[in-house]
Symmetry: C2
Subunit: 313 residues, 2 copies
């Protein structure tokens, strides 16, 4: 299985348009040791020809142009066959509307996420210009779903949802009770190659289901949004805690580094918020993460997983 990190930052990206914090200001002026990152999204493929996005970030256009494997091979063509969504958050869905130019696409998501997107937004009709333009594929935690190519054949990849503690996206929260299908993790499998990818960009609670899912994977991408639970408050940029916003922090006794110490496969933090000190390559927090065997995902990182052996390209 081929994997490319299209974007590795949390919503808003790094730097964020209206943020002049130490990290954002520093990456703009080149005074901190950090790389700019676009908003979180992965591309995955069984054969290197047909690709699926895991989340469609608002930065999708520049992410596609930066990735040669996603460029058209003919006058009207795209190697993209579909998008798998982990939530209905703006930073996971907005890029879909950039894929409106008459390309048939599959959107795989839970029913909650599909309804919140397709049934409450007139804008979504831009993806429904002809029969079969955008087809929904339901993700249900009980089932492993085959991802089809544009002509309906199996792509070689399957995807399975892992239900997570979550909440509806902010714009749908009024009057809607949280469900464990608002926000999911993904296990993407290329059975023929014996490769499994775990994709958990937003996770508020590391329970038994999460542990079991991560343990199955050859590579793990896990929620690295915040270093500490009160990171935003400490920097004067917000009032809510990491847990309250749906994210296990990286550091601390309850953090992912301590809680996921048993993992041994290659593992990456992703969905990194602009305030997170792990973005700085010379920070103590970055050293801590690396000492625990994790890496901080960066835009353009590529992996090959499976029978030829896992390697980082």
């Amino acid at each position: 299985m081929r994997v490319r990190v299209l974007g590795s930052a949390a919503g808003g990206g790094f730097p964020q348009w209206n943020c002049g914090c130490v990290n954002c200001d520093g990456v703009r002026t080149g005074t901190v040791a950090a790389s700019a990152r676009s908003q979180e999204s992965l591309a995955v493929s069984a054969d290197g020809e047909t690709w699926f996005l895991l989340n469609a970030s608002p930065d999708i256009r520049s992410q596609i142009e930066a990735a040669p494997q996603l460029h058209p091979r003919r006058p009207r063509h795209s190697p993209l066959a579909g998008v798998v969504l982990t939530s209905g958050d703006v930073d996971h869905c907005l890029g879909l509307f950039c894929l409106r130019e008459a390309q048939p696409l599959v959107v795989a998501s839970t029913e909650r996420v599909w309804r919140g997107l397709a049934e409450t937004n007139a804008l979504f009709r831009t993806l429904q210009r002809f029969p079969g333009h955008t087809r929904w594929l339901e993700l249900d935690p009980e089932q492993r779903v085959s991802l089809p190519t544009a002509d309906g054949a199996p792509s070689g990849l399957t995807v399975q949802a892992v239900a997570l503690t979550g909440a509806p996206p902010l714009h749908l929260r009024a009057g809607l009770a949280p469900s464990e299908l608002d926000n999911i993790g993904l296990l993407v499998e290329h059975a023929e190659a014996g490769a499994v990818l775990a994709y958990f960009p937003g996770c508020a609670q590391i329970d038994g289901r999460v542990r079991n899912a991560l343990a199955r994977a050859d590579a793990v991408f896990f929620d690295g949004t915040f270093w500490s639970n009160w990171e935003l408050k400490e920097q004067g940029l917000g009032e809510r805690s990491a847990f309250d916003m749906g994210h296990v922090p990286v550091g601390g006794a309850e953090g992912s580094m301590e809680t996921l110490q048993s993992l041994t496969q290659q593992r990456f933090l992703i969905h990194i918020n602009n305030t997170n000190p792990v973005l700085r390559e010379d920070s103590a927090e970055r050293r801590f993460v690396e000492a625990h065997g994790w890496r901080v995902a960066s835009d353009g990182l590529e992996l090959v997983l499976g029978s030829t052996g896992a390697r980082s390209a």
Copy 2:
């Protein structure tokens, strides 16, 4: 008045994600003499401190990062005070949803465009997180409207809508009759400096109102989407004509170069589709445009208009 071209391409940008036409393939491989362009948007300011966008393109995040004058001056800050919309098309509005991080903004548009955006999309609630988060300013062709800074003071700029022949955006077309308030041109004025900018990125018919408006401006940005009326069909990329899609072509007896020959101020084509031969710097069509005294707008172009004299930076 300060003006920066944030993006100069039509919807989809140049190159477009699912297009491998001569131009798109050529700009990716460096085999045509052309520059990549992001989707059409301008930034304007009276004082260089408070800025307004004319349209919010899907490429807004990278456009802001490429423009130093739009960067924050403090930990939570943006020089952007608002967005003026010429239509409800996806490529003019989608960027709004990227400006959701708690920054109060004014959105100036016709009532049709505002209703189509704010009242038919649950996604829009992401811009209505607190009272005053996003405030609507109605544009009516009869009135010159003052654009306010974030604290409500006059910014020094006014904007006036020019009604155009148009149609609702594709995703709102079902059951909605066209109105001349679906699609407008803009006259942006900095009265103190004696500067007027005409912004007409989509125009299907050059009538007396359009001529009068353009004649008043110190600089004109005009619809350069297509070179010829059947450009898409000739390239096997679509069935609709330029006029039918709401755009006067650039070339031909009915085209903008012939029809607007009386203009003498500085003038630019903008909203250039990826199929348009004027994108190629060595094309006969580019020479024709330049021989008529026009330039093809490019990303990052900056102008200063007004009492210090119009100059291109």
